[in-house]
């Protein structure tokens, strides 16, 4: 091994330490956690995981989270596709201003919008549904998706469109049959980022839900604060939230770096 690989190697060890510690805690008994400092579980237990999988408030939290993340990803990318196409192919009145205005929403701190969002979604009767969170998250995910997709689309030569029209393709047939497969990697990257930012955001997700659509991550905060000091349970719930992210990364691993390179660089 060459010595320069030490830098990424040390960095990865640093990344894995807190994750290891979380997993370690999740397999310990509460007594062991509070009683002593141990580097690995002395009495290995799955009790914390059992609690989560048997208590419906816990696992329904997972379902709620995944529900709004998927709605948000599909919605954001679906509306961003035609918009990104317009930005990459045409000039129209106010296009640049509109593009910047969209980006400003990626800059809006969720803390600013928490209270008005609560009132808005209560007023339209969507409060405490996955739709409220999914729609609220489009605020920052649509601009991001447009930004990423526009980059990919601009990399596709315009001749592709023109040839297709000459061959007698209508616009939508061209868009779905030829254009979308061409920028499949870009759609993948956009989906990845929408998934990521919707999955990790919590302030809005927590504000817009109370019981029925409470996300898993918010349930954790509640456990930590109300039912005393159940670190094992907290750690187990936390460990389980790593899984969707890890699965998604595994599928897009070859696109992450390439995606950035093709799209925006």
């Amino acid at each position: 091994m060459r010595p320069r690989y030490l830098v990424p190697a040390i960095y990865i060890v640093f990344l894995l330490l807190p994750i290891y510690w979380l997993l370690n805690m999740s397999f310990k008994t509460t007594n062991e956690i509070l009683g002593s400092f141990t580097l690995w579980p002395k009495t290995f237990t799955l009790a914390s995981y059992e609690t989560i999988f048997t208590d419906s408030t816990w696992y329904s939290g997972y379902i709620a989270s995944i529900e709004y993340v998927i709605i948000n990803t599909v919605l954001s990318v679906a509306v961003a596709l035609p918009a990104a196409y317009a930005f990459s192919r045409y000039r129209f009145l106010g296009d640049k201003h509109l593009f910047f205005w969209l980006l400003t929403n990626r800059m809006a701190p969720p803390a600013v919008f928490a209270l008005p969002f609560y009132q808005l979604y209560s007023a339209v009767g969507l409060f405490d549904t996955p739709w409220a969170v999914a729609l609220a998250h489009t605020l920052f995910n649509i601009p991001l998706a447009v930004w990423i997709l526009e980059g990919f689309m601009s990399g596709v030569p315009k001749e592709l469109d023109e040839t297709a029209y000459v061959d007698g393709y209508g616009f939508w047939r061209f868009f779905f049959r030829i254009f979308m497969p061409t920028i499949a990697a870009g759609i993948g990257v956009a989906c990845f980022f929408c998934f990521m930012f919707s999955w990790v955001e919590l302030l809005l997700a927590k504000t817009l839900t109370s019981v029925a659509a409470k996300p898993i991550a918010a349930l954790m905060t509640k456990t930590a604060s109300t039912s005393g000091y159940q670190l094992g349970l907290l750690a187990a719930a936390g460990s389980l939230t790593l899984i969707p992210g890890a699965v998604v990364i595994y599928f897009v691993r070859n696109y992450i770096a390439k995606g950035f390179a093709l799209g925006r660089v």
Binding site: L15, W21, F92, A114, T138, S154, G155, K158, T207, I249
Partner: protein, 292 residues
């Protein structure tokens, strides 16, 4: 927009393609923003009684020491974060393997922290930093640093800065790595023939290529570290005292904790404008780079 290089046809019908996006984003952005503007100029009593307050909240806010202190803390945090994460991210991306099976391993492991819900990140570091039973806290105490992040402001800052470095350096690494792999091998060969030293290769070949991705990375890191909320609340709750109360935390305390709608709204607007102004500066710089 990258597409500006390409010749584009003028077509006003393109608006039709943009309408769904505009409607959705406007619903989410303009209505709440107008609510905030509305609150910011009024005084609220009880449930639904409002009085006109003019620019009073803005005047109070801009001269309030509490706001200055929170703003200063946010600025300091963002500066420290950028100062550590950007060079570190570049260094890691430069030393990462470029081909072979280890590339995927590195990318997957490095992307992992980016996909953990923010409060889980907080909970994780909370557990990690507990002075008696956490790995970090226990180790630091064992080597003679009487570390306690719930009591000492310096320790609290140390913990959240370390947490943010852990959480977000990978974003910079991934972006820079993408920039580096897109450099054609011919460039390196030419440098080798000329006998360029590694520093010269970095300075004249790699850094210019990284300039654009770095702008995106810095822009994203600036915005997100300036808006940081969840992770810090979970770990320190803004304390000890107010030592880690950043703008966003102060804002949520005012709006949802004390229900002071007017001052909170005024603060939201000022906060948003600061981010907007700085991001606009970055954005125009970016566009200028791209035009060249």
């Amino acid at each position: 927009m990258a597409g500006d290089v390409m010749t584009k046809t003028i077509n006003q019908k393109a608006w039709l393609f943009v309408i769904p996006v505009v409607v959705l984003v406007a619903f989410n952005a303009i209505i709440p923003l107008m609510t905030v503007v509305n609150y910011s100029v009024q005084e609220s009593f009880g449930e639904n009684t409002f009085f006109w307050a003019g620019v009073r909240w803005f005047e109070e806010l801009l001269s309030s020491e509490r706001f200055h202190a929170s703003l200063l803390r946010s600025v300091m945090f963002t500066a420290i974060i950028l100062f550590i994460e950007v060079p570190l991210g570049i260094a890691i991306s430069l030393t990462m393997p470029r081909k072979g099976p280890w590339v995927s391993v590195c990318l997957v492991l490095m992307a992992l922290p980016l996909l953990i819900p923010w409060n889980v990140v907080g909970a994780m570091w909370n557990i990690m930093a507990l002075p008696d039973i956490g790995l970090l806290g226990h180790t630091l105490n064992a080597i003679g640093w009487s570390y306690n992040y719930t009591r000492q402001p310096f320790d609290a800052w140390f913990t959240i800065v370390l947490m943010d470095v852990w959480h977000w350096t990978s974003l910079i690494v991934l972006l820079c790595y993408a920039g580096l792999v897109s450099i054609p091998p011919a460039y390196y060969q030419a440098a080798k023939i000329d006998g360029a030293r590694p520093w010269a290769v970095f300075r004249y070949i790699q850094l210019p290529k990284l300039k654009y991705v770095l702008t995106i990375a810095i822009l994203l890191r600036f915005m997100d570290s300036f808006m940081i909320y969840t992770e810090v609340v979970v770990v320190t709750g803004g304390g000890p005292g107010n030592s880690t109360t950043f703008l966003s935390i102060d804002l949520v305390k005012t709006a949802l904790g004390q229900f002071d709608l007017g001052p909170a709204a005024a603060m939201s607007l000022v906060y948003f404008l600061i981010i907007l102004l700085l991001s606009w500066l970055f954005y125009t710089l970016m566009m200028r780079n791209e035009a060249r």
